[in-house]
């Protein structure tokens, strides 16, 4: 079995999948901490559905998928953010309306476009081994930007996440930071959904933060743990998928679920 694992790393498609996957998981996890703590995790889910619609349109119109999807999803992110900020409960159902509509539109466009069923499948459930050189470059740039901004604004991101009113009163431009996080999340989701699929990408945002919160009690602990959990779960998940010949996205999500159960157990043992 160990031989198979070694062999795995000799395939270029596998290395590309690992590269993109690790970087996107890392970004998703860092952004996820802020989104989950602010109870904005619905935004991630909504955006992935909007992204699906956008990719479908790009495929049928024969345009570059990323060039169409990234701007559309970034705009959608600002819009969903505005909705969530206004009033929480109504915002939640409004997001559901937008995301299911986008999903329906995507399915419709694909079926009218005709004969692109493999694309539909790969957008829904991802095609982890089909990462191109362009995907690798883009995810490298994205993760460099996310890591840089996260480090640069770490103290402000904490303040804005923990207490918006206080941060605002201290002169922090809260709206700007919210928009920054929303925009980066949008790009992360578009890059990640081609790999994980529209149905599963939001797991990368939500799971690591929720998992880490079971055990860690400081913001810094949760941030560091989320990054580590995300990377480890991705590598383990994709290795399992290769060994067992299972779908990649699903394996990664289930590995994340296993990690969450493990952390919950550790949290429970610690408490008692």
């Amino acid at each position: 079995m160990l031989e198979m694992v070694f062999e795995m790393f000799t395939y270029p498609f596998m290395l590309r999948a690992l590269g993109v996957g690790v970087l996107v998981s890392l970004c998703a996890a860092l952004l996820g901490v802020s989104l989950v703590l602010k109870r904005y995790s619905m935004i991630g889910d909504g955006l992935s559905h909007v992204g699906f619609g956008a990719l479908a349109i790009a495929a049928v119109a024969n345009l570059s998928p990323l060039k169409v999807a990234i701007p559309i999803v970034v705009i959608a992110a600002f819009f969903l953010l505005r909705l969530s900020e206004n009033s929480r409960l109504k915002g939640d159902s409004a997001i559901a309306v937008i995301s299911t509509s986008a999903l329906a539109l995507g399915v419709l466009v694909i079926s009218v476009g005709g004969g692109v069923n493999t694309d539909l499948n790969s957008y829904m459930f991802g095609s982890i081994y089909a990462m191109s050189g362009e995907d690798v470059t883009l995810s490298l740039i994205l993760s460099a930007v996310v890591l840089f901004l996260f480090l640069l604004f770490y103290t402000r991101i904490f303040a804005v996440t923990f207490d918006e009113s206080f941060a605002r009163a201290s002169g922090v431009r809260v709206g700007l930071y919210n928009m920054l996080i929303a925009a980066l999340t949008a790009v992360t989701i578009v890059l990640g959904m081609r790999m994980m699929g529209a149905m599963l990408i939001s797991a990368l945002i939500i799971f690591p933060a929720l998992t880490s919160m079971r055990v860690f009690k400081t913001f810094r602990g949760v941030v560091i743990s989320s990054a580590a959990v995300a990377v480890i779960c991705f590598v383990v998940g994709i290795t399992l998928s290769y060994l067992l010949d299972a779908p990649g996205g699903a394996s990664v999500v289930l590995t994340n679920l296993a990690a969450m159960l493990l952390f919950s157990l550790i949290g429970m043992v610690r408490k008692s």
Binding site: T155, S165, A169, S170
Partner: protein
């Protein structure tokens, strides 16, 4: 020169006036208490003072070396904070965010300031504890320490004792009064707790759609409005 001067302020949401005719000054060393029924616009006024809500008309000016950014604000507890993973130290440190410029991480100066205020609020031994696992009273001390990190001049508190039991509330009030007396920090506080207010406040602002009263505590106790509102209960 006054630290805060509000001139004929009108506050409204979407064209619906919440309160108008608000006209008062806060001088250095004052302890102003803002009272009024639920929905009378107290929190809205607080948000206006912080520059988070633009007044429909009238003006708010700062003086005596105070700027809006230098107000130490203690907002009402939010839902999010109830299960937020953060250490006491992280929360208190975030009070330094608006001061001393922007650096990658907190500087030694900011860390020392946070440590100093934790010590003063009697929460130094809780520094590594998780904020969400503290009692309500301890959480308020943490938030007070954070507000102190943001200011050396003026504390603005919105119902700091909401949800606390009477004994813990009293402790918190005496902590605030101590800061006011010994550190000469100006205090502006929204409160429903009239008994405590009547003890510590130097000035009272009473809102009800408009400004019903502004003046010293003694004037308030003598006024018709004060007598009616207090209803004999808290006549100290």
């Amino acid at each position: 020169m006054a630290q805060i001067r509000c001139t004929d302020l009108t506050l409204a949401y979407d064209g619906v006036t919440v309160a108008d005719g608000i006209d008062f000054t806060v001088n250095a060393g004052d302890y102003l208490c803002i009272v009024g029924e639920n929905g009378s616009g107290k929190s809205t006024l607080v948000r206006a003072l912080l520059g988070l809500k633009a007044p429909t008309s009238g003006s708010i000016t700062f003086g005596d070396g105070l700027t809006a950014k230098e107000i130490g604000y203690l907002p009402q507890q939010t839902e999010i904070q109830r299960d937020f993973p953060a250490s006491v130290r992280e929360v208190v440190l975030s009070g330094c965010i608006g001061r001393f410029g922007h650096s990658l991480f907190y500087t030694k100066l900011q860390k020392d300031l946070a440590a100093y205020h934790m010590e003063r609020m009697g929460i130094a031994d809780l520094a590594k504890k998780c904020y969400r696992e503290l009692s309500g009273g301890q959480q308020q001390r943490v938030r007070l320490a954070r507000a102190l990190c943001a200011t050396g001049k003026l504390l603005l508190l919105d119902e700091p004792t909401a949800g606390l039991d009477p004994i813990v509330s009293r402790e918190l009030y005496s902590l605030i009064e101590h800061l006011h007396k010994t550190e000469k920090i100006t205090v502006v506080m929204v409160s429903h707790d009239l008994e405590a207010v009547m003890h510590d406040a130097s000035h009272i602002l009473h809102l009800k759609k408009k400004q019903l009263f502004f003046g010293t505590r003694e004037e308030y106790l003598d006024s018709e409005i004060g007598k009616t509102f207090l209803g004999g209960a808290g006549n100290a």
